[in-house]
Amino acid sequence: MMKHLRSWEVFLLCVLIFIIVVSSVVSPEFLTVANQIDLFQLSIEKVIVALVMTFIIINAEIDLSVGSMMGLSACAFGWLYQQGVDARLAIAICLAIGVVGGAVNGWFITALGLPSLVVTLATLIAYRGLARVLVEDRGINGFPDWFNALGQEGFVGPIPFALIVFAILFVILYIVLERTGFGRKTYVIGSNRDVAEFAGIDTRRHKMILFIASGVISAFAGLLYASRVGAIRGDVAFGFELDIITIVLLGGVSIFGGSGTLIGTGLPS
């Protein structure tokens, strides 16, 4: 298994280097710092979700519903705001939706023992459907200024809010993954679930926590997206799940290697 993984990492690394080399040959601007920040900012919501997705993939599961959850949360925010709900309360409700959505995924996966690929494929369609039910084919904009400013202007100096969230989350999750029992359990369950069960780890609870985390972070990322773009439609974050998984798989190289250059994943995006 390990040998198998290593060749896969090497292969991905080669692809990554190839893309960087080709891009910088085609366009000399590619490797400039300004361009990197631009590129990174355009995919910041995806990268934030990718942090949690990393845990789930290490745990040998997958969550395809993240893109739809982002869309559902953004649409729920827009709808609630349009109904006259205070924006702060609306944000809280959206995060709660994320918890519920993640728990639904987690319940089907842990209590019924269904494969996560199927469960989250179904909720990918279902959550997107709910998002469309809420906003139908309208677009909603005109959010409060502070909400838009959060996504569009610098929060501390020129650094946008989302980037700070990413940095904090990155540090926390890195420590959790590498330095805590929870993180070690994630690896153990991922490499051999039966062994983990015999070692007395409550794998169901562990997976449940991960899927709820994935739901709530996706909901949060959906709100970040809404605030950066300043408007929402039914197809917000459509198809993001595959981008996010790609980011994780490319970023997975460095995470397995133990070094924290997840930022490198911003390059090919």
Binding site: G113, L114, V118, V119, A122, I125
Partner: protein, 346 residues
């Protein structure tokens, strides 16, 4: 009841349950929608499901070997565009040549996937995730921002999907549907009767045991991907014939729909079990639901996707739970019989 359970295999039971669900849905919607149960419903669903039925068949074979092919949507798009481009440039081309051209394009793409998955041993979800994006960008590059329109296509091609093979009452069996049904039937017969096709099940249910039994599992996986590509190529031809207008977004999102159809049809996502007939019924079920929800007055058409997602979840959950029960009942029975035999022998 016990006897009946014993005689019906779990696979057959699954198919019966699927048919029952389809009939129940038909009855339910006929009470909700006026003029629902008639020939036009049959015509509508049979012609819209034909394309998906082909891809779901290819997808089933790949899933049987414990893999997944997410690139089919992009392959359909590319095959449809390239085929349309070909017939637009050479309008006198023989239909058979054109069909072969489309199928070969698909098989070529499938071969690339298969090589990477089976011989380079990169996980299929990664390979096909990447090739989904790559093939789509080939299409964008190849098309040069132009699109194929119906006017560029010869009459015989656009008429093909609506050609009526035979008619029963109001129900027209059109060429597209018949072609898909024939392909599914052939694949089903091959899967149940031919030794090489049985290897797909062997590799999917236990790769190590398959290797020890002398099966070249790499070749089996490779073949499954080539077949899936081939099906996507054929589906691309049908897509071109049915819609006529091909843009760079042709076939977008078909990959998840095909996985959903196969899974609803009882194909085990972990490989090793499932039937193409099941996938065919799954495609009908998904299509029936989508078509009917649009016409259902009580709920807004925006509920369509939400209900579809819930349907998939419920059908898979019910299938798994039912199957587990059944296995447990059978095991208990076998145990009891063994005990009785032991007691009977002095």
């Amino acid at each position: 009841m016990q006897n009946l359970l014993n005689r019906i295999s779990p696979q057959t039971l699954r198919l019966l349950v699927l048919i029952a669900v389809i009939v129940l849905l038909l009855l339910f919607f006929s009470t909700q929608i006026e003029n629902y149960l008639n020939g036009r419903l049959f015509n509508r669903i049979s012609s819209s499901m034909a394309i998906m039925a082909l891809i779901a068949t290819g997808q089933t074979l790949v899933i049987l070997t414990r893999n997944i092919d997410l690139s089919v949507g992009s392959v359909i798009g590319f095959a449809a565009f390239a085929t349309g481009d070909m017939i637009a440039s050479y309008p006198t081309l023989n239909p058979i040549v054109l069909l072969t051209y489309s199928a070969l394009i698909g098989a070529g793409f499938g071969m690339v996937n298969g090589l990477l998955v089976a011989y380079v041993r990169v996980p299929s979800i990664i390979v096909t995730l990447a090739s989904m994006a790559i093939y789509r960008s080939f299409l964008v590059e190849f098309s040069g921002a132009k699109s194929i329109t119906t006017e560029q296509l010869p009459q015989w091609l656009t008429d093909f999907p609506n050609y009526q093979v035979f008619v029963i009452g109001d129900m027209q069996f059109r060429a597209g549907f018949c072609a898909a049904a024939v392909v599914v039937l052939i694949v089903h017969l091959a899967l149940t009767r031919l030794r090489p096709a049985r290897q797909l099940f062997a590799v999917g249910s236990n790769p190590e045991a398959a290797e020890m039994a002398g099966i070249d599992s790499q070749r089996v996986v490779f073949t499954a991907f080539v077949f899936s590509g081939l099906m996507a190529g054929l589906a691309g031809f049908m897509f071109l014939a049915r819609f006529g207008n091909i843009t760079v977004v042709a076939g977008l999102g078909f990959e998840l729909n095909s996985v959903a159809s196969a899974v609803v049809g009882g194909v085990n996502i972990f490989g090793g079990s499932g039937t193409v007939i099941g996938a065919f019924l799954g495609t009908i079920l998904v299509d029936l639901l989508q078509t009917s929800l649009v016409r259902w007055q009580i709920v807004s058409e925006f509920w369509r996707e939400a209900v579809l997602g819930a349907m998939i979840l419920i059908s898979v959950a019910a299938d798994t739970v039912l199957n587990r029960r059944l296995t447990a009942i059978r095991a208990a029975r076998a145990h009891r019989i063994a005990l009785e035999r032991k007691a009977a022998t002095p």
